[in-house]
């Protein structure tokens, strides 16, 4: 089974190709060029490097959200175009779940935090004590860093934090957290398409995928205009 995986949910652009149990290639760029400029050339690069015939792909896995609205859509629209022609399904992997998979097997609770703007994070709490299949103590959601710290203190277990929200919220977290906490090293702290691919393969086996036409990002948040309109009408 062969899966192309893409993550453009945050500042990082990452693509990978998984064949059965093996990642054939993984490419990550954390640079200020836009995803629109980097993503397709990166896909082309790993496809060529691994002599992959696109027609042999079984599915495309994508970090489906949350994340930067525009970043999610660049990835989503790109794979919708590729999958449409190849007539293969798209597997939407929750971004925060994929991030947590960087610490698969950790004794600590794994807590990804993405900078969600408006003083919020996209976060979740994952317990890998039982192996590769984490117990999800809190599903991915938008949350203030204060509320998150409150939850973590309540649970009271050691944690590892990762994600692009760390840089932004580290001081606040150090101030608020009363539990033992560490931060991920750079190579494990960002979205990796390899993790999206591995989780994607799992979902694929479980039949959790959609057609190219049906796929759309999971924003976890309404647009500002919709929120304001609802507030006015409330």
């Amino acid at each position: 089974m062969k899966i192309l995986a893409v993550d453009s949910s945050g500042l990082v652009a990452s693509v990978a190709i998984l064949e059965d149990d093996s990642i054939l290639a993984e490419y990550m760029v954390n640079y200020k060029k836009t995803h629109s400029e980097t993503l397709m050339p990166m896909i082309d690069e790993i496809v060529k490097m691994t002599n992959t015939d696109l027609k042999t792909l079984d599915a495309i896995a994508i970090a489906g959200g949350p994340g930067s609205f525009t970043g999610l859509r660049i990835g989503s629209a790109t794979v919708k175009g590729i999958a449409q022609f190849l007539n293969i399904p798209i597997i939407s992997v929750p971004t925060v779940d994929a991030l947590s998979y960087n610490f698969c097997g950790s004794d600590r609770l794994v807590v990804p935090i993405m900078d969600a703007r408006r003083n919020q994070t996209y976060t979740g709490i994952f317990d890998f004590h039982d192996g590769n299949d984490p117990e999800v103590l809190m599903e991915q959601c938008p949350m203030s860093v204060e509320d998150l710290a409150g939850h973590l203190n309540e649970i009271g277990r050691p944690i590892v934090l990762l994600g692009d929200g760390v840089a932004r919220f580290r001081e606040t977290l150090d101030e608020l957290l009363t539990v033992d906490h560490i931060y991920a090293p750079a190579h494990m702290s960002r979205q990796r398409a390899g993790a999206v691919a591995v989780l994607g393969a799992k979902y694929y086996a479980e039949g959790k995928y959609t057609s190219a036409e049906e796929h759309e990002p999971e924003y976890l948040r309404k647009s500002q205009a919709e929120r304001e309109r609802e507030a006015q009408n409330a």
Binding site: P41, T70, R73, G81, F85, E216
Partner: protein
Amino acid sequence: MSSKDTYILGIESSCDETAAAVVKNGREVLSNVISSQIAIHTLYGGVVPEIASRKHIEKINQVVTEALKQAGMKITDCDAIGVTYGPGLIGPLLIGVSFAKGLSYASGVPLVGVHHIEGHISANYIENHELEPPFLCLVVSGGHTHLVRVKDYGEYEILGRTQDDAAGEAFDKVARAIGLGYPGGPKIDKVSKEGNPDAIHFPRAHVGDSEYDFSFSGLKSSVLNYLNSLEMKHEQYVQADVAASFQKAVVDVLVGNSVHAIEKFHADKFALAGGVASNSALREAMQKACEERGVKFYRPAPILCTDNAAMIGSAAYYDFKKGIRAGLDLNAVANLKLGERAY
């Protein structure tokens, strides 16, 4: 299908229409599918970019599938994919561009990035098979007001542009002020038919340093001032008269500058393009001005005036013939200038 024929799949998502079309040899429309989002944006009184982007991604696959189906073709039957990459709203543009790149990459069908205004101008090629450059073209829409010399296919000289609001934008703003709502262009056009265009004299702006440039924000302000002054006096305004008088002021300026250019460049062909080219008063006035001067007048049917992908397919055809191809790093450019190629 004759082997010398060229088929282009056009894709357009620069604002609030998700559109795809198949065009043969740049002039013949085999399909023209448009999924409009106007109903949802009407709730907000105008296009909300984030909502537009979300709608585009929901619709893009089915719109493209439908366009190919109606044309009776597969993507690999097409010689190229043409996609709007600017100007427009960046979020919406990125959907079409990213999707087209993915589709082009997987299928091996070459990609051409198209300028949205060039698309609007090219809509005239579809409607009028005998039309060829050079000609003068007035492009008027919700986002653009350009008076252009089309010197050759893909070769443009911008004579004048708006220095503030686009003409269509002024229509939207005035429509909102007199309670007509969004979209303003068609609504003002309709209600103006019952109004007196000479009831109120609104100023026709003359832009100092450029003989062909436009300005509509002063006109818009003077309509708002007029409404305010009546309100202060507790007097009612006549909606149809305000609409008709405002519309006449806009049309006078658009036609005035166009006629000036026709005379200066001794043009023998003149074309209208863009959403506001559907405005009946503008069409009539421009046609009359052209006929009086022996200038052949062209305009696309309303379905080709609004944002659509057939016009993108047509413009892409002429670029494709010149050997122009976009790479996998094609990016959307919100403020792309006409005549500029950003790849």
